[in-house]
Structures are given as C-alpha cells and as structure tokens.
C-alpha cells in the first residue's frame, strides 16, 4: 500500500501555480528521484508533505493521514538549506534530535560522525559547507523513519562528499521505508533510484521505474532528462 498519496494536489502562490493537479502513489521500500529544473515545484511538493505549506486544492496523505505532528514522527526531512541552530555543537545537535525524535539512533549517528573524523565538540557554524551537509544528512538518516524526504541532498558538494552521501543513504535507510530525493542533478544519483518522477512547471510528466525507462528510451535517465527539459 502506498505510504505517500497525492490527490489532485495543487499549490498556488497568488496567481502563480507552483504545483498543478499532482496525483501520486509512492510505495514503501523504494528510492524515488524527484527530478525537475529549478522552479519546477520540487521543494513545494516536499514542503506540502511536511505541512510547511498548505495545499490550495487537493490533498497529500502520509500513511493515510494529513501531515501533522503524527506524520512528522515517522517522516525524516532534510531541507534544502541549513536548518539547524548553528551556534550549537555537533554533540548538542544529537541531543536535540534525541529529544525530538523517538526513532533517532544516536549511537548510529555518532559512529558515522566519528568515521568521518568530525569533532563532536565543534560548533556547527564553524564546519565547512560540505561537512555541514554531511552532518545534516547523518542526523536525518539516523532516524528509523518510514518516509525520508531529502530535498537536494547533493547540491553543492564535491564528488567525494557526494559518494559518501549516496552510500550513507543506501546503507542507512530502512528497507521498508520510502526515500524521496529531489534533485536537478540526476547523473549523480541515478544508479540508486528505483523510480523517477519528472516534474515540469508544476506537473508530473513522467513517473516510471528507472530500469524500465532505460530500456524504453535506450538512454540513461540523465540523458532522457536533458532531452525532456532541453532549453
């Protein structure tokens, strides 16, 4: 049964339509890429799933429920920008997550931080951009959630950090969970995707199994993406 369902989900900001009649059923156990150029509605869709935005029309349901405190307890969300109190030490951030989320596995997070050689006593804002992104991802993936919403987790990091991030996602997600990764850089993540969704000007133009798509178009998902979204 689908863990995330969108029914005619529509979001308008004044006259501008960010998301138009989106219908989706996302199944558990899948890693799904949400791809589209900048401004195609990816972040809007994810924010609707977290009730950071309210739909203009239609609805989004997570495990059959409207987003709210109950769903947030099972959804691990990684925003597309720094979101943590940056004056805190890394160890204090662990404490913060532990107190917010019952499913946070602190020991797992500490192991990952140690394996990267990051000093837990360092203040978050003193870390480099790439390291901050890794810490945020580690915090997110250390939750034993049912749904992971990762908004542009690989934007702006170097290739080594990107590989690390991808490995962290593969090795930490719970196989019963659904992972939604938004990106405009498909080539970087396409090998880990079960399914891809193409979003164009707020509408879904494609939702397909990644290997089926490769067979059908004889191209990589990235090549096909470039063709669909050619400027």
């Amino acid at each position: 049964m689908a863990v995330v369902v969108c029914n005619n989900l529509t979001k308008r900001y004044g006259k501008k339509t960010a998301l138009q009649n989106v219908n989706l059923n996302l199944e558990p156990g899948r890693i799904i890429g949400l791809a589209g150029p900048n401004g195609s509605g990816k972040t809007t869709m994810i924010k609707l799933m977290q009730r950071m935005l309210v739909p203009t029309e239609g609805q989004v349901l997570i495990q059959g429920k409207e987003p709210g405190p109950e769903t947030k307890a099972v959804v691990a969300y990684l925003p597309d920008r720094d979101f943590l109190p940056d004056w805190m030490k890394v160890s204090a951030l662990f404490g913060l997550y532990q107190s917010y989320y019952a499913d946070f596995d602190r020991a797992a997070a500490e192991r990952m931080i140690a394996s990267l050689g990051i000093d837990q006593n360092q203040t978050f804002k003193k870390l480099s951009k790439g390291t901050r992104e890794k810490v945020q991802l580690i915090l997110t993936m250390s939750r034993k959630a049912q749904v992971y919403l990762l908004d542009e987790p690989i934007a702006g990091v170097d290739p080594a950090a990107r590989d690390y991030i991808i490995r962290t996602i593969i090795s930490n997600y719970n196989p019963e969970a659904m992972v939604l990764i938004s990106t405009h850089l498909i080539a970087d993540i396409e090998a880990v995707l079960d399914e891809v969704i193409f979003l164009k000007e707020g509408r879904i133009v494609l939702h397909e199994n990644a290997d089926d798509l490769r067979t059908k178009v004889s191209m990589s998902v990235d090549e096909y993406f470039r063709e669909v979204f050619r400027c």
């Binding site: 490995r167 593969i170 090998a191 995707l193 004889s218």
Partner: protein
C-alpha cells in the same frame, strides 16, 4: 573489476554482466560466498533493490545459490561455469567482429588478424 555503468542499459543487466566477469576472472571463485546485498549495493553505488534483482536472476541461471542460513554462494557446477564462460566469450567475439567490420574488414581478414595476433605478454614470455 570496477563498478562502472554505461547509459541506456538497465543497471541490473549491467550488474549481471559485471558479476559474471568477476566469476569468470576468479575474483569470485567457485564456492565462495557473495557479500550481502546491501554491502554489494553500497560498493557498487546502486540501489539495494536493483542489486537484489540482479542476484535473483543469477540464482535463476544457476550461477549463484542460497543456503538459507549462511548466505549466497557461487556455484561449483563446472558445466554451468563453462557455459557462462562460453556465452561471455561469444559476446566479446561478437563485439570484435562488429568493431572490425565497421573499419571495413571482412570475415577472412578478421580471422587472419586474430590468428596472427601475438599478445605482448606472449612475446615477452
């Protein structure tokens, strides 16, 4: 052997060929244990479901087998391994013929070129 994927071919099929190459090259010897799905997926940088799909197909082809409690192993069946090598080599020969006919060589010329070819290793030996 490195995990590298070409575009336009389903990744699970590419994993299957790569694992066959690893078996043929002795990197995964007969009877040896295969790493758990998740570890392999991590190493290859692919989705665990995709890796699972490839391993399942290799099991169906008889190249791998699962022992319920201890994991997944490479077959020791000599006949199966021989056939796998044969089909791999056929693919290489096919690629060779295609490449050489593109540069205008006919069948006889290709066979002649292959039989008169001395690899640098042999020369040194």
């Amino acid at each position: 052997m490195k995990w590298e994927f070409k575009s336009g071919i389903p990744i699970y099929l590419q994993i299957i060929s790569l694992l066959k190459m690893k078996i043929a090259a002795g990197e995964l010897p007969p009877g040896s244990q295969v790493q758990p799905v998740r570890e392999l997926a991590m190493e290859a940088g692919v989705n665990p479901n995709t890796m699972q799909r490839a391993l399942t197909q290799l099991e169906q082809e008889g190249l791998l087998y699962t022992q319920r409690t201890s994991g997944r192993f490479v077959t020791e069946d000599k006949q199966v391994l021989k056939e796998m090598r044969k089909s791999l080599s056929e693919q290489y020969v096919k690629d060779l013929f295609e490449a050489l006919s593109k540069i205008g060589m006919n069948r006889e010329e290709i066979i002649e070129a292959v039989s008169s070819f001395e690899s640098t290793d042999e020369k040194e030996a």
